[in-house]
């Protein structure tokens, strides 16, 4: 188990004042089997009229409207999170994961992804040819995967697809946008965590494997992060295709959904025609710099 301290700051700056600004924010980590949130504080400016909700994927949201004119909209979320060593979310109602098996507009395959898939679909993933999840330092993690009853084949497949995705994309911010599809990113050959995740989802869904997009934060300073969870029949197992590794206890989950659109951090609707700039700044640090075993 690890205790992490996080700061999440989102600032929207408008070149001209806007009014009647409606928003839905989805940037609040919540309790789950893998993480417990302590003393979370949320500050949203300017003041607004609105409420809280849990969306259909179980993500926490705040929504509302800022009526008066403003040129800046700032959200600050801080808190501490205890993240478990075990990185799995059990699946209690298996017949309900079906929706994660199907493509969305963002994960739909095109010729490039089809090509990637055709090149790797017949790869022999038996133990001799594909040592099971190599390079994973967290022995507990592997033991946990094996002790659970899910399908090892699915996890091997997902792990291999993660390697493939990691290799077919160059990490380069600023080239792709929030609405770039998996196919577009794969064709460009570069992108950010969202694009890596979408391509991985696309490949997995071509095999009918239920998988979901996760938005969150990881240890360090910078932007928010995104990765992929795969259902092996019993549990969700998390993979980070951007860093080509299994997700461990240095990651904090914020939201999940079928794709990035379901996890939109800030959706807005306002009156005015300004230029707008969104800046997201995330800082995640260890509270106690050592592992505590439980």
């Amino acid at each position: 188990m690890r205790k992490l301290k996080f700061q999440y700051r989102m600032q929207l700056s408008f070149s001209k004042p806007v009014n009647r600004h409606h928003f839905t924010l989805r940037c609040f980590p919540k309790d789950s089997e893998r993480q417990q949130i302590e003393n979370q504080e949320v500050k949203i400016e300017p003041s607004y009229d609105g409420g809280d909700k849990t969306d259909s994927f179980g993500n926490l949201c705040k929504y509302g409207v800022v009526e008066k004119e403003h040129s800046e909209f700032v959200v600050n979320v801080t808190g501490t999170v205890c993240v478990n060593g075990s990185q799995f979310q059990p699946v209690y109602e298996k017949h309900k994961v079906g929706m994660f098996r199907y493509h969305t507009a963002l994960t739909k395959k095109g010729p490039t992804i089809e090509n990637i898939y055709n090149k790797c679909k017949d790869k022999d993933l038996s133990t001799e040819n594909f040592p099971y999840i190599p390079g994973i330092s967290d022995a507990d993690n592997i033991k946990n995967i094996e002790n659970n009853e899910g399908s090892i084949e699915v996890i091997r497949r997902a792990y291999y697809f993660m390697n493939v995705v990691h290799d077919c994309l160059e990490y380069a911010p600023g080239i792709t946008q929030v609405n770039t599809t998996a196919e577009e990113a794969a064709t460009l050959g570069s992108g950010v965590c969202q694009d890596y995740s979408h391509i991985m989802l696309s490949l997995l869904r071509m095999e009918h494997i239920p998988c979901r997009y996760v938005a969150g934060m990881m240890m360090g300073e910078g932007a928010s992060h995104a990765w992929v969870e795969v259902c092996d029949g019993e549990k969700w197992v998390a993979f980070d295709p951007t860093n080509n590794c299994m997700v461990d206890d240095s990651y904090i989950c914020i939201s999940n959904g079928r794709d990035a659109k379901d996890c939109t951090i800030n959706q807005g609707y306002f009156y005015g025609l300004p230029e707008q700039v969104q800046e997201i700044h995330v800082l995640v640090e260890n509270v106690e710099d050592e592992y505590t075993n439980i």
Partner: protein
Amino acid sequence: MKEEELYRYSDTVNELLARYGVKFGIYKNGIFKEQLFPFDMIPRKIGKDEFNYLEKGLKQRVMALNEFIKDIYGDKKIIRDKVVPEEFVYMGSGYLAQCEGVTPPNGIYTHISGIDLVQAKDGEWYILEDNLRIPSGASYPMIARDICRRSSPATFKNNSICDNRNYAKLLRKTMDYVNAGGHTVILSPGRYNAAYFEHSYLAEQTGAHLVTGNEIVVENDNLYFIDYSGRKERVGAVYRRISDEYLDPMNFNPESVIGIPHIYDIYRKGNVALINAPGNGVADDKGIYYFVPKMIKYYLDEEPILNNAPTYLPFYEKDMEYVLEHFDDLVLKDVAEAGGYGVVFGNSMTKDEKEKFIGMLKAEPRRFIAQEVIDFLDIDICDEGKVVPRKADLRAFVLMADEPMVWRSGLTRFSRNPDSFIVNSSQGGGFKDTWVLEE
């Protein structure tokens, strides 16, 4: 006095309908055109016993459809028990993930359903389509009957015809039953919507406010109607005539400018009723149609009273074989299309078209259903003074309050083209009054 007495008023009635604005809007090549919805004076008559049978079957069907939608956005038992394959749910355009786990007031998803039926030559009735999203059309027979009564009161005095002027009452009851506290409004996209006449007419008849998106607003987790003086009054029920995706830019299509931001958030909390419930299109997909008889058995443990037209799902191998073998005898429908679009008859295709179509069918079997062509019973229409037989269907309206209610009338649409089976008003068809007889 015979009903023929009524026919003398054909011109007057059509002129009055035009003057009242009984029109149907069509977008063609991006241009909005309004056209009159031609009314034929010869009524379609349905006997009392026959309609009682239809009524029973329609109630049963809508109850099962409502249970299905509740199940899909909740427990998903029908998927777990493999009665409906999940791809027909999740790949359908009507399924909205945003509706998962949301229960509408009183568990009603199908407040107003328009069920399309046809009668075959042997007298047997078949269900052609279930329209659950925003079925329109009730206003046309309502106003036509009203004008006919005025033109020839004696016809209605001397024939025992069920009075159909209660539609507004049924609708009001349906809306009041789920009202979460406050006014009832009918939300229209506005003047340029295809069914604007209906929106305004139903508002007038039910006493609901007719509003557009900028007249209602969400505040403090409630919905308010802003009147002409700027005063805000709470709204408890919205009969929305805006499709799901445009209803709320914060929850559905962010580009919608006719929706109400956050209306879905407060609906989720039970603070307002939306009629019909968002997401209910999951049950009116043409692919799902195939499974409705199975739903009736699954949820109600009853045998279906009304039959589907014999339908094949190329998704199932056995059905695909049948479809390829009997291609020329079948009508093929694209499940994603509506309004009479995407419907082709196997025997009307050229060899090339057929080959191309079969290629598509094999590549995307889930996208199509195939049906036996039902030999519709022709009904008489009056075409330029001559009585001629034409194909017609019947849209029956089922409203759901504490129990389902079937309107004892309906919209009979006919094809003006003698060779066509397609009766949709967007394809140039006309309509008739539907008389349900009292004896």
